[in-house]
């Protein structure tokens, strides 16, 4: 335990903006998506990092088991779930038991663990070889589907692509109006249907319109639904089928919009929506709050579902391509205040 006292006597030096990790991350945040990403994660990282460092300044020569429990508490608070948190705790326990550790070393270790958990092949959107790329957007009520679609529309518009939106949320009051306003702002075309109408028919017409007008991207909104509502999940299957009938390998992407504040229910959401709509990726929305979105870790573990984008603000430009390395760096060593 003596190492601990020794450690506590000298204040742990602040990690300098992630450069310790060998990541090419400068302290002034880069512009563009990467910078946006960091900016959005700033609050998250401030919170998490303070916690880890508190661990060292607060604890003075106490039992290792006790601060492992504290580490566990911090990990639990990221919403990564008890299982993965235990895994990391045990990993750190076996690696560091009875050893003199430095703050950097421990953080690097946990970071590496996070990174290996989040390691994914590719985050880019799979584009159609010819004709429009169809993207179906699904998720539970209030997860941020419509706003995420507006952000996607802007993302593609900025690449000079022609975008058609399908207002498939015919259930919620004024959802169509909301998307229509966004479509106008982003300069995208929109296909709508009557309130309470058949969303599959809207999807069909949206895809048809995209083909007819030679659009590059067709994003289809759906009504929010809970993954336990079997008939509504069947409706998703139908929408998926209708789209596939028009273009053989469409939808090219089915994105699940996941609220970063969601807890362990996110796992059930990923399972339910993947089963019904064959999800190909996740949009992690509302990551600009204090929530850490750690639930993507067990989701990644179980379903191999990659996160493609993160929403980091309320404006339609607040969308960033998911970068696992930046996500992890941001968690532990983002620019401090």
């Amino acid at each position: 335990m003596s190492w601990f006292r020794k450690k506590a006597s000298e204040p742990p030096d602040p990690p300098s903006g992630g450069s310790a990790e060998g990541e090419p991350a400068e302290s002034p945040p880069k512009r563009g998506f990467f910078g946006l990403f960091r900016q959005g994660l700033k609050r998250t990282s401030d919170l998490l990092r303070t916690d880890i460092r508190d661990l060292f300044t607060r604890r003075q020569g106490q039992l290792v088991d006790e601060w492992l429990d504290d580490l566990y508490a911090i990990l639990i608070k990221t919403d990564m779930g008890a299982g993965p948190a235990k895994e990391i705790r045990e990993h750190v326990r076996t690696e560091f038991r009875g050893r003199v550790v430095e703050l950097e070393q421990l953080i690097d270790e946990v970071k590496a663990k996070f990174r290996s958990l989040l390691d994914q092949e590719s985050t880019s959107i799979r584009l159609a070889e010819t004709g429009p790329t169809v993207i179906l957007v699904v998720g539970v009520n209030g997860s941020g589907k419509t706003t995420s679609i507006a952000k996607l529309a802007q993302y593609f518009r900025r690449q000079g692509k022609k975008v058609v939106l399908g207002a498939g949320d015919t259930f919620r009051a004024a959802a169509v109006e909301q998307l229509t306003i966004w479509a106008e702002r982003e300069g995208a075309e929109i296909v709508t249907g009557p309130p309470q109408g058949d969303p599959a028919s809207v999807a069909h017409r949206a895809v048809a319109a995209a083909v007819e007008r030679g659009a590059d991207i067709c994003v289809i909104d759906t009504a929010g639904r809970l993954q336990t509502q079997a008939n509504l999940m069947d409706q998703l299957r139908k929408i998926h089928r209708v789209i596939a009938k028009q273009i053989a390998d469409a939808p090219h992407e089915t994105l699940l919009v996941l609220d970063a504040t969601a807890g362990q229910n996110g796992i059930s959401q990923a399972a339910g929506f993947s089963d019904a709509a064959n999800c190909t990726g996740i949009v992690l929305a509302k990551l600009d709050g204090t929530a850490k979105g750690g639930v993507i870790i067990p989701i990644r573990q179980r379903f191999r579902l990659p996160v493609k984008f993160v929403g980091v603000g309320e404006k339609s430009s607040d969308l960033a391509v998911f970068d696992p390395s930046a996500f992890v760096d941001g968690l532990f060593s983002g620019p401090s205040e």
Binding site: R43, A73, I76, K77, T78, D79, G81, A82, V140, N141, G142, S143, G144, F171, R172, A173, A174, A175, E177, Q178, T180, I181, W182, P195, L226, Q227, T228, Q229, A230, N231, D259, T261, A262, G263, Q264, N265, G266, S268, K286, D288, G289, T290, A291, K292, V295, E314
Partner: protein, 491 residues
């Protein structure tokens, strides 16, 4: 709702059960499982630690370890502590002024606007005139959404197009409500991040200027550990009077409910259990604790039943039953009442020990089945509905075609109705005890088929099994059971 938390706790208690005496160490193991299941239910870590400390201290007491059925004692302790943590029930809106202002706030997408509509509906049910105010000037089409809900309910909605100052909108709305003598003004404010200083200040500004009588925080039931942070921020900025938790009809574990209650200390007012506007229940801690532990909630069931059938209708049905006038048409009306989406699962959730049924009724298939039955009745002529006896093969085929079902299903419906009629008519005018008895008979006779699942008649093959074959079958069953348990554990 809360299945997962409940399942976890059930497993935890199972490990305690069946042990004649509990030692301190196996009690601790069992309690560890309780802790894990609370964490997996998204209860905030600090709340869990606090809770477990108290439960552990009590559970390791002399009286529990030496009790005849220690696991029961532990359940009782957890139940009691849960009720304590959930706090007192207070579903009253405290409407003691001519015009009462209720402000709704919460994070984006927590369900504020829908909850405003649900609250308005609840007020209407209690003969109180509400007015909805569109104070969300941020989200595109939020005003339009509130108007649509207002039209659905027949409630007036106040909004100003092009307005930029929510305080002015709220003030004007209150003046208008006074003029129109609406007793409750519900302010639908913009969703925001708790850490967004600017928007939070704006909310506090509304709070100071408009002086709402009640301020409720709307929390998404699927929220994770972050519930503590946001609830704290809102509570500090606004002096909350209550919490409404939404989206508890799915498989969300709703542990955030415990966290929010712990942080804010204000009562949980209502819980939202569906996307339809009638799915808002007053919160009762005993009922909720019971539901979490799988003990059922009979009071909520009775309330729900009362809401479905009003007293006049009930007397009318009673009379018809006594006089033997109960027709297929009445049968259909009753079916339609309960065949609303989500309702059946909700009701089953109130009943103790009905978890198995819940699986059967999982999804909205049951409601669909009932609607099918109602469809069959609709395809009949009036004469057929009053005297099903006249339905012959020809009529049967016609009805089946009209309803888009197999002729067999028509026969099954009539059979079911006739069987039910006899029993139900026998029940009419009797006291509760004989009713329950009759109900039990109905269930046992297999005539009651709540899921309206088309039953396949299993025919015996007439072949008797040798003892060797029986043993083999038993082995298979056990193997299957073990496999299922393993899978459960893995989940």
């Amino acid at each position: 709702m809360f299945e997962s938390l409940r399942e976890g706790l059930t497993t935890a208690f199972k490990t305690l059960r069946g042990k004649a005496r509990l030692s301190e160490s196996n009690m601790r193991d069992g309690l560890k499982l309780v802790e894990d299941s609370l964490l997996e239910a998204d209860v905030s870590y600090d709340v869990v630690r606090d809770f477990m400390e108290r439960v552990t201290a009590k559970a390791l007491g002399e009286r529990v370890l030496n009790a005849l059925d220690p696991s029961q004692q532990v359940v009782a302790i957890v139940h009691e502590e849960l009720i304590g943590l959930l706090g007192e029930a207070d579903p009253s809106l405290h409407l003691n002024k001519d015009v009462n202002i209720v402000m709704m706030c919460g994070l984006q997408g927590s369900g504020k606007t829908t909850t405003c509509g649900k609250l308005a509906r609840l007020l209407l049910e209690n003969d109180v005139r509400p007015m909805l105010v569109a104070a969300d000037l941020q989200r595109p089409a939020a005003i339009e959404q509130l108007h649509v809900i207002g039209r659905q309910l027949g409630v007036s909605v106040y909004s100003e197009s092009g307005a930029t100052d929510p305080v002015a909108v709220c003030r004007n709305a209150v003046a208008k409500a006074r003029a129109e003598s609406c007793r409750v003004v519900v302010l639908d404010t913009a969703g925001r991040l708790a850490i967004d200083r600017e928007l939070m200040d704006q909310l506090a500004h509304i709070d100071r200027q408009v002086e709402p009588d009640q301020c409720y925080l709307v929390v998404d039931g699927m929220t994770g550990q972050d519930a503590v942070n946001s609830a704290k921020a809102f509570n500090e900025a606004l002096e909350l009077n209550g919490v409404i938790m939404t989206k508890l009809d799915g498989d969300a574990r709703g542990g955030a409910l415990l966290s929010v209650r712990h942080v804010t200390g204000v009562p949980i007012k209502f819980i939202g259990t569906g996307e339809h506007l009638d799915a808002l229940e007053p919160f009762r801690p005993e009922g909720m604790a019971g539901r979490i532990l799988g003990l059922g909630d009979i009071v909520a069931l009775a309330n729900e039943a009362q809401r479905l059938v009003d007293e006049k209708e009930r007397i009318e049905y009673e009379r018809k039953l006594q006089e033997g006038d109960f027709t297929l048409e009445d049968f259909r009306d009753q079916l339609e009442k309960i065949a609303r989406p989500g309702l059946i699962q909700r009701i089953v959730g109130f009943l103790p020990g009905m978890d198995a049924m819940r699986g059967m009724l999982d999804s909205e298939d049951a409601a669909g089945g009932m609607r099918r039955l109602a469809g069959i009745v609709n395809a009949m002529t009036r004469a057929e509905r009053t005297r099903p006896r006249i339905i012959d093969a020809g009529r049967r085929n016609r009805i089946a075609r009209g309803a888009g079902v197999e002729p067999r299903e028509v026969s099954e419906l009539i059979q079911q109705f006739e069987g039910m009629k006899t029993v139900v008519e026998g029940m009419a005018g009797k006291d509760m005890r004989s009713r329950m008895q009759a109900f039990k008979e109905l269930q046992e006779s297999g005539l009651m088929n709540p899921g309206a699942v088309i039953q396949k008649v299993k025919k015996g093959t007439g072949k008797r099994l040798t003892s060797h074959e029986k043993a083999k079958l038993r082995q298979q069953r056990e193997k299957e059971l073990r496999r299922r348990r393993r899978e459960e554990r893995r989940r």
